[in-house]
Symmetry: C2
Subunit: 345 residues, 2 copies
Amino acid sequence: MRIPSGGRPVEEVDEFDLIDSIQRSIMLHKSTRLSLGIGDDAAVWTPRPGRQIVLTTDTLIEEVDFRVPWIEYRDLGHKALAVNLSDIAAMGATPRLVLVSLGLRGNERDREVIEFYQGMNGLARQFRTVIAGGDISDSPHGMVISITAIGEGPPKGLPLLTRSAAQVGDVIAVTGALGLAAGGLRTYLYDLRNLDGRPVMREHFDRPTPRVREARVLLRSGVRAAIDLSDGLYGDLPKICAASNLSALVDATKIPVPSSIRWVFTDWFDLAVRGGEDYELLFTASPAVFRRACQAFRRLGMPEPIAIGTMQEPGADGPEHKLRKQNGQVEVVEPGGFVHFGPKR
Amino acid sequence: MRIPSGGRPVEEVDEFDLIDSIQRSIMLHKSTRLSLGIGDDAAVWTPRPGRQIVLTTDTLIEEVDFRVPWIEYRDLGHKALAVNLSDIAAMGATPRLVLVSLGLRGNERDREVIEFYQGMNGLARQFRTVIAGGDISDSPHGMVISITAIGEGPPKGLPLLTRSAAQVGDVIAVTGALGLAAGGLRTYLYDLRNLDGRPVMREHFDRPTPRVREARVLLRSGVRAAIDLSDGLYGDLPKICAASNLSALVDATKIPVPSSIRWVFTDWFDLAVRGGEDYELLFTASPAVFRRACQAFRRLGMPEPIAIGTMQEPGADGPEHKLRKQNGQVEVVEPGGFVHFGPKR
């Protein structure tokens, strides 16, 4: 049970006082290229001349994407920003600034709102990103967090990481283990205690790390196709297949699933491939580029990416996502990770 | 009463089919500087080298900022975009692209969602702005529309319009009449029919025009201080006063209130100064610059801005917002337009 923190409900706090407190709590960190931040009609920023600008937005809605009794406001701020920075990373770009649009119930404590911004700012600083503006509005039916992240890529003409750049014969790889975040969600859903792996699972679920650094190493090593794993392998790999018009063959035995997940959950394989929210990068690269990327990761002391399959010519009916099972049999996978609307799969 | 439109509830529609339909309905309009739009992890855009980039975000929440039985989806799309383009205009910048994050109840018809995007796209095209990306999520308690608009300003070093640039002796002026949008809201609130001015009031409330062109003429004429009137004159003028650390004296008789509002509402003055949502520009300029701006508007066949007061040295207790009433008496105005939280004023 979370102990209610101090402070006053924001509905009793003057809106401008609240914005002032937020501003003070995150003003420590400034960017020289940001000439106007919070406090005018809009933020003003001058990117490096000729750079490609990468823009993404993602909204988290209470009771759909998060539950306040489960997550601390500080972690919520971290996570809301992380999922957006992850999209910037998946393009191979460097996050520079974010705008935060926050809808509040009104019964949040002012201290909690400040903690939310502090959690966000902690992650922002880690990636030298600035909270440049946003707005706060009234959202009586539940918190709404909408973040837009803006990043800088290489100059125009130079490649970024896209979903459509996979080639036949490419290695399919991921930057880290899958299933920990889904395991973390399980510990909340079923109130699982006394689990050795619980802190790690919850850390992955509550405070995912956007793979910004990894993405840049991949791009520099010659990788061109990537996506971040927000909807799970089975949700996101089909997007690379569709955008590149290729099939994918994944080797079930090579999917990296931590033993903490295998030991605890009988459906650990499903958690790993459909659970989502891992925010690792899924990428494809020629075997030579993949080797070069692995070397670069080793040199930098970063955990090496893990090969899990191969890109192939599309089938007669178009791109297919296939799985080679432990017994050697190959089956076509029904796509599907987390889906917002439509018949649940 | 709005007649329910055809189509299927979006909760029965495949998310990717819906996104495809949206994409098709707005793909007609492209920008050469947008190298990657909807369909990857993020949009990629290359601004003109050295330009200042202006960024703003605003969220509209159902039952707080709009009511679906009152507004057509097409108009809702228009309005949601207009309030964001208005913030870009208030900086003197030119809108270039927008990201749209949409939370849906699930019982909206697919046709209605398409209409929403079409309404948005109609306004976007008018200002050569591109819908470059976004996301759709599940928001069971009501629609949430979060838009981020990105504009280009002049090269770094050249001025924009800010709240803090007002000077003692500046004329305070607005680009158009006040109170029509608040009148439009009244016609919905009290179901007023058979009112001559109703169509115009509703047009201003449902489909405000962001003053993008006006802002650029003001900036070119030498104006430096501006804000857009979203919270009403009494809500927004104090922001210029605070940011510029000056007082403002407004002449009540000079505030432009259309006769359609004066005739119908006994509290027409309050509607004009506190009603909000007019999205006219409020700006200040030296008398010489103001004359130059008026000439420029005349030359371009645009309705001239209207002077309503003067910027003055701050009072002993700091910036004050004062009103000279019809009888010549000057009183200090309690600030306040629309406020999200805090004691209602």
